[in-house]
């Protein structure tokens, strides 16, 4: 089932720019955003925060059997990235040979097509990651 149009639209800015939140009270960063700080709860002062996009690969896999609509991209690298602010996020790692991906590899955020299932449908854009360009 394709995610609905309003659902995807609602998070466009966050998905394009890697915007989450930061709890100014305890200094914890959240991406995806959390409106309530998990540590401070109501006492936490939470504000929007734009992440730098830089991080390291914390874990990764190579998807060879894809879910519907992603078959064209196989094989692709799916990873959990540890962003330099300390938060973790799931995303693909691109422009890389799947066989040579390393845990700890430094990556930066890039803007790519995430989902494009139908020639008459909408394209979903957003963040992916790539080894830092020297």
């Amino acid at each position: 089932m394709k995610p609905g149009l309003p659902l995807l639209w609602r998070k466009t800015r966050e998905r394009y720019n890697l915007i989450g939140t930061k709890c100014e009270t305890c200094g914890t960063y959240y991406i995806p955003e959390r409106k309530i700080c998990a540590k401070c709860r109501r006492k936490g002062k939470v504000a929007p925060y734009t992440f730098s996009g830089r991080g390291k690969i914390y874990s990764y896999t190579v998807i060879r059997v894809a879910p519907e609509d992603y078959e064209f991209f196989v094989p692709y690298v799916l990873a959990i990235i540890q962003l330099e602010e300390g938060a973790y996020i799931t995303g693909q790692v691109v422009d890389v040979n799947p066989e040579s991906v390393q845990i700890g590899q430094e990556v930066e955020m890039v803007f790519r097509k995430i989902h494009d299932d139908h020639p008459e449908g909408l394209i979903t854009y957003g963040y992916k990651f790539r080894p830092i360009l020297k």
């Binding site: 089932m1 998807i63 059997v65 879910p67 519907e68 959990i80 996020i89």
Partner: protein, 387 residues
């Protein structure tokens, strides 16, 4: 709260059951369970039905109402329970509370999943709904992919190898050869697993549980009435549940399921026992790495040692603590909503001495561990054979 017992269990065959529909599956398992409970059916006062994705797989919601109807149990209250792959365990837990609270004396808990009426791609996509739709699935994550991310960390942090994970699958297939309800009856070797097609590195096809149709049902009764009703009851001595973040990337660690640790700790406390007292356990091996993490989370082996223990045979039928005597999710099959109840069925048979060919000698305490998604939900039950 009152004490509760399981007085009857039943399950359908697990497999690709082209000839059987969702409602037929559940009726098969239900009739077997009620018969096993030496009941007629009219004694049942409430029903909890667990199914994860009936809507997306067969277009049918409102499944508890359908089960009550198909089994001729109207007008008893019928409630659907959903917690991804833990739906069965949750249905069982809700049935337990319904009796423990004093509201009812006889309650049925059923779990069912009909996965082959949809295409494999649709089924895999539907299962994805157990994860975070917007922040994991949108990026092309699959369930093998999410567990692969955990496996990779477990390998780095503890030296777990693909061979150790493969050993879990080989063991479960061996166990399933004794289980007439299991989906797979063929043995496989560690080599077979290692050579199978990669799905999400490092997990391969034979590291993953299959797409399965199946149903399982348990009949629960308050302990006092159960003692008078039948000799073949087992007591529920613990029911525990915990939650964790939905998305894997929000977890504190990728090498354990905190929800399982919390639920297990609570369960041991309720039962007044320690992990060493458990004689047999059915754990949620949706992927081989899941079994390895489970036996660590449940306290059977120290953190990081689950892989070696599995490779060494400590969890085999004749091992120190037999795990997944039914064949687990891997070899018995994983009809998502039914699995949690199937685990109860297997443990009940073990405690009653009815597990032909795979019987654990003198089993006193049995444990079930049912997980939803990548670990956002975990339900743990401990059953005890009466003295």
């Amino acid at each position: 709260m009152r004490k509760v017992a399981v007085v009857g269990v039943g399950m359908s065959k697990f497999g690709e059951l082209w000839d059987v529909s969702l409602r037929d599956l559940v009726v098969q398992a239900g009739v077997e369970a009620i018969k096993d409970a030496h009941l007629e059916g009219s004694e049942i006062q409430a029903l909890y039905g667990g199914t994860m994705a009936s809507g997306r797989l067969v277009g049918q919601e409102h499944v508890a109402a359908l089960i009550a109807d198909a089994m001729g149990l109207n007008p008893i209250p019928a409630t659907r329970v959903e917690g991804a792959c833990a739906s069965g365990g949750l249905a069982f837990r809700n049935a337990y509370f319904a009796i423990a609270s004093g509201a009812y004396n006889v309650v049925v808990a059923g779990g069912v999943e009909k996965m082959t009426d949809a295409t494999t791609a649709e089924a895999v996509t539907a299962l994805g709904g157990a994860g975070d739709q917007e922040w994991e699935l949108l990026h092309g994550a699959t369930f093998p992919g999410l567990y692969a991310l955990m496996a990779r960390r477990h390998m780095i942090e503890y030296g777990t190898t693909e061979e150790m994970m493969a050993a879990a699958a080989a063991k479960n297939h061996h166990n399933a050869t004794f289980n007439k309800y299991a989906q797979f009856k063929e043995k496989i070797t560690i080599e077979d697993v290692l050579k199978s097609k990669k799905v999400a590195d490092p997990l391969k096809v034979l590291d993953c549980s299959p797409i399965t149709d199946g149903a399982a049902v348990a009949v629960l009764m308050d302990l006092e009435t159960a003692k008078k009703h039948t000799d073949n009851y087992v007591e529920i001595v613990a029911s525990a549940q915990a939650s964790d973040t939905l998305a894997l990337h929000d977890r504190k660690s990728l090498t354990e399921l905190r929800a399982a640790q919390v639920a297990a700790k609570e369960a041991y406390k309720q039962a007044g026992i320690t992990p060493e007292d458990i004689d047999v356990a059915e754990v949620h091996d949706c992927f081989t790495i899941a079994e390895i993490m489970a036996i660590e989370d449940l306290g059977f082996f120290p953190k990081g040692k689950g892989g070696q223990a599995t490779l060494d045979g400590e969890t085999a039928l004749n091992g120190r603590i037999p795990i997944n005597t039914s064949g687990g999710l891997k070899a018995c099959g994983h009809p998502v909503g039914a699995t949690g109840i199937k685990q109860i069925v297997e443990i009940t048979w073990q405690l009653r001495g009815q597990a032909e060919g795979r019987q654990v000698k003198d089993a006193q305490y049995g444990l079930t561990h049912n997980v939803g998604g990548s670990g956002a939900t975990c339900v743990v039950h401990i059953l005890k054979k009466p003295n």
